[in-house]
Symmetry: C2
Subunit: 208 residues, 2 copies
């Protein structure tokens, strides 16, 4: 449907290069300490050029976050369209998340270190928009938890609590992986995460 000429393609490519450069710089220095000059330099453009593509520094930042967020949310939503038992879904979502982060180390650096939610609420309205998306995501997850309860596979608890607990565990493992000096595949932690989330950590007496 969409016919795009060379011109447009080139424009998009440039935009992409800027975003990629911004991702690196923001990840390394954080929003406030990154300068537009640095980003421009990293992208091999003049400073003024950035403003041909993005309204402001904040704008650049939020668009970066927003697009990446969509990139991970898409596959997760696709997953939720398929009919599948809740526990299967949880496993798949976990895998998707870990794989995405593994491919986007820098992005999570930003996402985690920059304004873990709070600053965003303070910043431009765009910040709010991102916050909304995060809330929406958690609610999706809560839906899955509820489904699991309906299937009799998960204990009856507040589904939101479960969703938070799950994301909490996942995040802490991602954090650890991010700052760990040794490099290991993040996905290798999937089983541990699931084991803890589903079965807990207490050793049980053997069942009869």
């Amino acid at each position: 449907m969409e016919k795009i000429g060379r011109k447009e393609r080139e424009h998009l490519a440039h935009r992409g290069e800027i975003l990629r450069a911004a991702e690196k710089v923001f990840a390394a220095k954080g929003f406030f300490q990154a300068t537009m000059n640095e980003i421009a330099e990293a992208a091999e453009f003049g400073t003024g050029t950035l403003y041909k593509f993005f309204k402001s520094k904040e704008d650049l930042f939020f668009i970066l976050i927003d697009e990446k967020t969509e990139e991970i949310n898409g596959p997760v939503k696709d997953e939720l369209l398929k009919k599948a038992p809740a526990i299967e879904r949880i496993k798949n979502i976990l895998r998707l998340q870990l794989e995405f982060i593994e491919r986007n180390r820098d992005f999570f650096r930003i996402y985690a270190s920059e304004g873990s939610r709070f600053e965003w609420k303070v910043m431009s309205s765009c910040g709010n928009q991102i916050h909304e998306k995060m809330v929406a995501y958690i609610h999706l997850l809560a839906q899955v938890m509820k489904q699991g309860m309906g299937e009799g596979k998960l204990k009856s608890m507040d589904p939101l609590d479960l969703a938070h607990a799950f994301e909490g565990i996942v995040h802490s493992f991602i954090f650890e992986w991010l700052i760990s000096p040794e490099s290991y595949p993040l996905i290798s932690k999937a089983e541990t995460i699931l084991e803890i989330f589903l079965n807990g950590t207490e050793k049980k007496e053997r069942r009869k």
Copy 2:
């Protein structure tokens, strides 16, 4: 032992007032957007006065974090001196943490939103010092997990993994509590957290 005259007492009181004001302002706006003027105003001092007490903005910030961190770490360490079964300890530490945060909403706002670890490593050496403390804390927790395994009460897993998972769950509940519009006692989530951490979320068939 320590004789302190009125003078000194007053000096300490002023220092404390500045720290309290800083806590509020940093919590509301974040490190980079808080200004020294604002903090001074909130503390009802002149701008210059802050510099009689703290070398710089960074200095003020880190000292604030550091002192608060000690305030929570102290009781936790005391707890660890007592002889007690691991699971008992975990419960107590959880209670201590939740109670502390409940009394120090603003502090956790800062702690969580500001440089979840990464920025700190970039910043002054003081940032590193705080990072070290966080690592040390996790290792303490891991020790407790190991103890629990020794007692046959916890599954044999990497103790650090357990510690991370635990902190992950706790943090996510604190986050939620922080941004939640309804106000409820944070401590009320203790049972849920423990239940998930120890027993997991999967519904088990009745044991015989």
